[in-house]
Symmetry: C2
Subunit: 318 residues, 2 copies
C-alpha cells in the first residue's frame, strides 16, 4: 500500500472513529506507532482538524466532530438535491433553512459553469404549488429537535383563550396547505392536541425529565389513532357525476376511496367518524350537483339544514 493510499484511508478512518489512540490505528494499518504519529501529523498539515489529549483516556479527536468526510457526488445527484429544495421554497418557515442553503451553496461552488446554468434554469421550470402564508412559525427547529429526541417542551401558545403556557411532548411536525402543525401530548390537558406552529410564540426544550406519558411508540403515522380511538363511525354512500369524480380525484384531502364506473361516474361507499359529519356536509355542498349524498341520514339532514339557511340568505326559491 502506498503512503498516499494509506493517508486517504486514514482520513476516512478518523472521520469514522472520531476518537482513537495512536496505537489502535497503528495496529489497524499495520505500521509502527511512530509512523502513525507522523501520519496523523501529516493529516493535520493537509487540513484535517485533529487534536490530541495526553494522559489516561487520552488519544486523538477530530476537532470539529460535526463534519462528514469528503464525499464525491455526481452532477445529477447534486441537481437532484436542488430539485428537492424547490419543494420547500414557498414555505415561509422550515426547519434547517440555514443548513439547506449552505449545503446547496457548497454544491454550487464545486460545479462547472454548464451545470450551474442548468440549475439556474431549473428554478423557473419546476415548482410545487403551496399556498403562501404570512404567519411566521419561528419554533420549528425546537419542536422537531424535541420530537426526535423525545424531550418535553415548555411553550407559549396563542389559542382561542389567548396566550397561555403549555407543557407538551411533541410527536412531530407536519406541513399541510402551507401551514405547520404539531401534534403533541399536552401535559396540561392530559391528552393529545394538535397545535398550529404559527401560534407557538416561544418554545424551549426542558432538560429535566418530566412525568413520562406512555408514548414511546407514538409517531406521526399513528398518533391519530391514539387520539381518535373512541370515535364512532358511520357508513356513507354518495353518488358522483363524471365531474364529481374528477373533482374528487384532484382534491386535496386524505379521503374515502372512490369506486368508478365505465362511463366515468362513480360512488363512495365508506365509513367516517360521526364527529366529521359537519365537515363532510360542507364538503359535499361545495361539490354542488356533482355529488348526491344518499346516506347517512344525519349527513343528509345537515345538508338540508344548511341549504335552507343559505336559500333564505340568498333569496333562492323565488
Amino acid at each position: 500500500m502506498s503512503k498516499s493510499k494509506r493517508l486517504m484511508e486514514l482520513m476516512l478512518a478518523v472521520h469514522r472513529k472520531r476518537s482513537f489512540t495512536v496505537k489502535e490505528l497503528a495496529v489497524e494499518f499495520g505500521v509502527s506507532s511512530r509512523t502513525m504519529l507522523r501520519d496523523l501529523q501529516e493529516l493535520g498539515e493537509l487540513g484535517v482538524p485533529l487534536y490530541s489529549e495526553v494522559g489516561p483516556h487520552g488519544g486523538y479527536r477530530l476537532l470539529n466532530e460535526r463534519m462528514l468526510p469528503p464525499i464525491a457526488f455526481s452532477e445529477e445527484e447534486a441537481a437532484a438535491v436542488f430539485f428537492a429544495s424547490h419543494a420547500l421554497r414557498h414555505y415561509r418557515d422550515i426547519p434547517f433553512r440555514t443548513e439547506i442553503s449552505s449545503a446547496l451553496q457548497k454544491f454550487y461552488l464545486h460545479m462547472p459553469q454548464d451545470v450551474r446554468g442548468k440549475i439556474d434554469e431549473m428554478r423557473d421550470r419546476v415548482d410545487f404549488q403551496v399556498p403562501h402564508r404570512s404567519q411566521s412559525a419561528p419554533m420549528l427547529n425546537v419542536l422537531l429537535q424535541a420530537a426526535i429526541q423525545r424531550q418535553p417542551v415548555r411553550m407559549e401558545y396563542d389559542g382561542r383563550a389567548g396566550v397561555e403556557e403549555r407543557e407538551i411532548r411533541p410527536v412531530g411536525i407536519y406541513a399541510s396547505n402551507g401551514l405547520w402543525y404539531c401534534p403533541a401530548y399536552c401535559l396540561n390537558r392530559q391528552d393529545y392536541r394538535l397545535f398550529r406552529c404559527d401560534r407557538i410564540k416561544t418554545a424551549e426544550i426542558m432538560e429535566r425529565p418530566t412525568e413520562e406519558p406512555e408514548m414511546e411508540q407514538v409517531h406521526l403515522g399513528n398518533w391519530g389513532s391514539v387520539h381518535d380511538r373512541d370515535s364512532e363511525l358511520t357508513g356513507i354512500h354518495v353518488e358522483l357525476s363524471r365531474e364529481g369524480c374528477r373533482r374528487f380525484e384532484t382534491g386535496m384531502w386524505p379521503q374515502p376511496q372512490i369506486r368508478k364506473r365505465e362511463d366515468g361516474t362513480g360512488w363512495i361507499e365508506s365509513r367516517i367518524p360521526k364527529s366529521d359529519i359537519e365537515y363532510y356536509a360542507h364538503f359535499f355542498i361545495g361539490l354542488g350537483m356533482e355529488a348526491h349524498v344518499l346516506q347517512p341520514a344525519e349527513l343528509v339532514l345537515s345538508i338540508r339544514q344548511m341549504l335552507a339557511a343559505m336559500a333564505e340568505r340568498y333569496g333562492a326559491g323565488e
Copy 2:
C-alpha cells in the same frame, strides 16, 4: 510540498480542468513530465477515473465527467438534505427519484452511527401532507429536461377525446395536490394548454428544431399571464364570519386577500376573472353560512341557481 499534498491538489485540479496535458500540469506543479505522468497513474490507482488520448489535441480527461470533486458537508447539512427529501416522499412519481436515493445513500454511508439514528428517527417526526395518488406519471424526467433545455416534445395524451398525439413546447412542470401538471405551448392548438402529467402516456424529446413559438421569456412564474391575458375581471365582495376567516386562512388555493376585523370576522374585496365565477360559486357554497357573497351579481345568481337545484334534490324547504 509533500507528495501527499501535491496529490490532493492534483485531484482538485483535474476535477477543475477536466481535460489537460501532462506538460501543462507538470509546469503548474513544478515537477518534470515524467513525475507528473507517475502522479496521474497514482491518482488513477487511488480511484480517480482518468483516461488518456494520444496524438495532437490529446491529453488526459476525466472519464466520468459528470462527477464533482469530493465535498465536505457538516452533519447538519446532511440532515437538512434528508429533511428536504421528506417533502417528496408521498409523491408517487418525481423527477430525479433515482438520483435523490443514491445521494441520500452516500450521505448515510458516511455518517457515524449516532447521526444515522437521528436521521432514522426524523422519518417519523416530520411530514408533508400530500394526497396519495395512484395515477402514475412516468414522463416527468423527459418533460423537465425538455423545459430546461427548451426542446420540443412529441407525446401521446389521454385527454377527453381519447389518446392523441401532440407536439408541445413545455414551460415546466409543477405539483399541485399530489398531481403533476405541465403547462406547455401546444403546437397542435397554437396556444398554451395545461396538461396533467399522469395523462401523458409517452413523451420523447424531438431533436430537430421545429417552428419556434415566441416563448423565450416564458416560465412557470408568468405563463399564466400569457395564457390569461384576455380575461375579463369583475369585483367581488364577500363577508366572512370568524369561522369563515379561519377556513379561508387554512385553505389551499392562491386566493384573494382577506381583510380582518378586531372581532375575528372579515371580508374580501377583490377582482377575479369572470371565467372563474362557476368555480367561486362552488367554493363559497362549500363555506355555507360562514360566507355571505354580496357581489358580483353573476356570482350571487350562480349560487342561487345551484341552491335551488340542490334544494330540490335533497328535499329542503319542507
